[in-house]
């Protein structure tokens, strides 16, 4: 198979697996025969894989609900039901699934306050609505700091969470098994890091969005189905092999005459298929990074039980998209922007934003200032990454094109 055939196959495999993340997938997971737990937001795969239960994430299912041909209908149904309009649409959809009775009732719920208070609200919603109100819950409290004491604090909670999971599901937490999973997780993290670095090549050898796909398989899909976990490693290895070969031969993305490299520092929009391929093909503009392809993961330190939990906590707090950017001071966001632009040779930064994402709206000016100081052309879009009707992909394309022209990049 040639490079593109391999990449197409990897893409197809990933897209097939992503069905597990939709609300239909969540319902299927509930019937798999494994203990079934729902998390209100992002969760690490190491615990479900080690303890062999299925973990689905509400906000991810919500985000998947804003993609595809039924997206507008889904969002409108949520609005008609009276779900708050100023909520981020991924959370809004998750709340809708709950209130409409589409979300299956799990054996246990893990709620968190991260990355935002809207996710916290989902946990509170599940306190009020029967039958979820009667389901045992564990609340994770993510600190805003990034000191060792914060990681230790969160690590203790993760350990307590495993005890509660054992109590509710009967699944044992075995340290040996957990160590194996952590080692495998570290391997995956290194592979993703390797891919990130390969992206630095000019021209960029592979669509950078593949990093997001690999990450989502290794993390979210593996959490829903522990059997996927080792397959994620192999998927990543195959991705690295083909990308390395392309770098060796100085090959870029097929069909793309790369002229511009930009940073889209927010979530990849659910309507990205209507924007990024067009930007690549018509303008030669390649999106080098977004929140979900920026997997800046610290390794899990397996030297002791305490260190394992602390370092997993650090991985979660500092490496989870949106948690990294939204839960910590804005200077982290600004530092990331400068570093990414330099390392990945980005010519410009786009700050898309989305409804309800108050943190990015709050530091819009900081980001603009930092870009100006570092000579990075900056565009603030103000679109919604979930509901394309708010600012259509066509309008976004036109604005970005004008921006690239005005910045002298086209």
């Amino acid at each position: 198979m040639n490079h593109q055939e391999i990449l197409n196959q990897l893409d197809a495999e990933a897209n097939d697996l992503f069905k597990e993340l939709t609300i239909y997938g969540v319902n299927d997971n509930a019937r798999k025969g494994l203990p079934f737990i729902i998390a209100s937001d992002d969760a690490l795969p190491e615990i479900p894989v080690a303890m062999n239960f299925s973990l689905s994430i509400m906000t991810v299912a919500g985000a998947m609900g804003t993609a595809g041909p039924e997206a507008a209908t889904n969002i409108d149904r949520a609005t008609e039901m009276g779900i708050e309009n100023r909520l981020c649409n991924s959370v809004k959809m998750a709340a809708y699934y709950l209130e409409a009775g589409i979300l299956p009732v799990p054996d246990m719920i893990i709620t968190t306050n991260s990355p935002c208070d809207a996710v916290d609200m989902l946990g509170q919603l599940m306190d009020k609505y029967k039958p979820w109100a009667d389901v045992p819950k564990f609340r994770l409290d993510s600190p805003h700091g990034h000191e060792p004491s914060d990681f230790a604090y969160f690590g203790e909670q993760l350990r307590a969470c495993t005890r509660e999971i054992s109590r509710v599901t009967g699944r044992k937490f075995e340290m040996d098994r957990f160590l194996d999973v952590c080692n495998e997780s570290n391997k995956q993290a290194r592979l993703i890091q390797e891919f990130q670095e390969l992206k630095r090549a000019v021209p960029c050898p592979v669509d950078p969005d593949m990093a997001r796909k690999g990450w989502e398989i290794a993390r979210w899909i593996a959490a829903t189905d522990p059997a996927v976990f080792p397959k994620a490693t192999r998927w990543l290895e195959r991705l690295i092999e083909v990308t390395e070969d392309k770098v060796k031969h100085q090959l870029g993305i097929e069909g793309v005459d790369e002229k511009i490299r930009f940073l889209w520092y927010d979530v990849s929009p659910s309507w990205s298929s209507k924007l990024f391929p067009r930007l690549q093909k018509e303008l030669g503009a390649v999106c080098m990074m977004n929140y979900y392809s920026f997997a800046n993961w610290t390794p899990i330190d397996t030297s002791s039980e305490e260190r394992i939990m602390s370092s997993i906590a650090e991985k979660y707090l500092m490496g989870t998209p949106m948690t990294r950017q939204a839960m910590h001071p804005a200077d982290i966001y600004c530092e990331d922007v400068v570093r990414i632009c330099k390392e990945f040779k980005c010519d410009a930064m786009v700050m898309p934003c989305h409804i309800g994402h108050r943190d990015t709206n709050a530091y819009h000016k900081l980001a603009k200032d930092v870009c100006r100081e570092n000579g990075i052309p900056f565009l603030f879009l103000g679109c919604d990454v979930w509901d394309e009707r708010y600012m259509t992909p066509e309008v976004v394309f036109d604005r970005m094109k004008t921006f690239f022209e005005v910045s002298g990049l086209l």
Binding site: G145, D150, Q193, R200, K248, N296, K342, K345
Partner: protein, 295 residues
């Protein structure tokens, strides 16, 4: 005295201690002018000097793999007299001392590189189709710069200018914020890339990006993880000071990035913790009383 001066003294004293302990040392002096520095290098330095990527299969040696030990320290001062301008110190083996290895990439990751056991090496002999990879040195990099006119206001620019990207041929710093983890390519090694090369390249880049810099001294430590861990402790303390500088610089711009609601950074946390303990005890007492009444 500038905020980092005590740490400049600490680091130089630590290096002297290591030398006194018998650690292998090599000291070279870089020439004073930028042109002379660049001219003497076996590799290119500057924009687009490299592709920015070194493949696993092209890696001669890794520096600062986290399992092997990694630490990056950057210090500045307004007193050039505190530094020995142009001095590059290497404690421990040089890049050219690494030799060729059969270790595969991920086995370097899990085995800790230079410190593999015989069993590990046996496993590695049965290496699969994966690309041959390189050893990893434990690695600490200490960069100290001085300039009469350097101040906290320059701190962020100095930090940003440490991002190497594609500026050094045959050298890639990996995507890792806390420490420093890098690769030297086989091609660069074949051209004679050593720590002297790296030190001079860094000096050239920093000096040309920052005209206020009058003196630079760089030290590399590749002895063992224990030595790196000691320097890592200095790095943690230095990071606290760095954070305060960053906070102040943002305040000057008009933004208060103080995370005031963060319990961990609040001076009154012990008071709150005490009150929380009292609350817990009182709730326990209340429950006991309630249970007693119900009986």
């Amino acid at each position: 005295m500038d905020v980092f001066d005590p740490y400049i003294i600490k680091c130089t004293n630590k290096i002297d201690e290591m030398v006194a302990d018998g650690k292998k040392i090599r000291v070279v002096m870089a020439p004073p002018s930028l042109d002379e520095i660049r001219g003497g290098l076996p590799i290119a330095v500057g924009p687009a000097a490299s592709q920015g990527v070194i493949l696993r299969s092209d890696t001669f040696v890794e520096l600062g793999n986290p399992e092997a030990g990694s630490c990056s320290i950057f210090l500045y001062t307004s007193q050039p007299s505190l530094l020995c301008n142009g001095r590059i110190t290497l404690l421990g083996p040089d890049i050219s001392d690494s030799g060729i290895s059969n270790l595969t990439f991920d086995e370097v990751v899990t085995s800790g590189g230079l410190h593999s056991s015989d069993q590990d090496l046996e496993l590695l002999e049965k290496a699969s189709h994966r690309a041959p990879a390189a050893k990893s040195f434990p690695f600490a990099q200490i960069i100290m710069v001085a300039g009469k006119n350097l101040s906290e206001n320059d701190y962020e620019i100095l930090k940003t200018n440490q991002i190497i990207g594609d500026l050094i041929e045959g050298y890639m710093v990996r995507s890792f914020t806390q420490n420093i983890w890098s690769r030297v390519s086989r091609e660069a090694a074949a051209k004679g890339f050593t720590f002297e090369t790296l030190g001079k390249a860094l000096m050239a880049l920093l000096k040309s990006a920052n005209p206020k810099i009058e003196a630079i001294e760089i030290a590399f430590v590749t002895t063992n993880k224990h030595d790196i861990d000691i320097l890592e402790e200095y790095a943690r303390q230095i990071q606290k000071i760095s954070k305060e500088i960053v906070k102040e610089n943002w305040k000057i711009k008009g933004y208060d990035i103080e995370c005031a609601s963060d319990c961990a950074s609040c001076d009154d946390k012990p008071v709150c913790d005490t009150i929380r303990d009292v609350l817990k005890e009182k709730m326990k007492e209340a429950r006991k009383l309630k249970n007693h009444k119900q009986k």
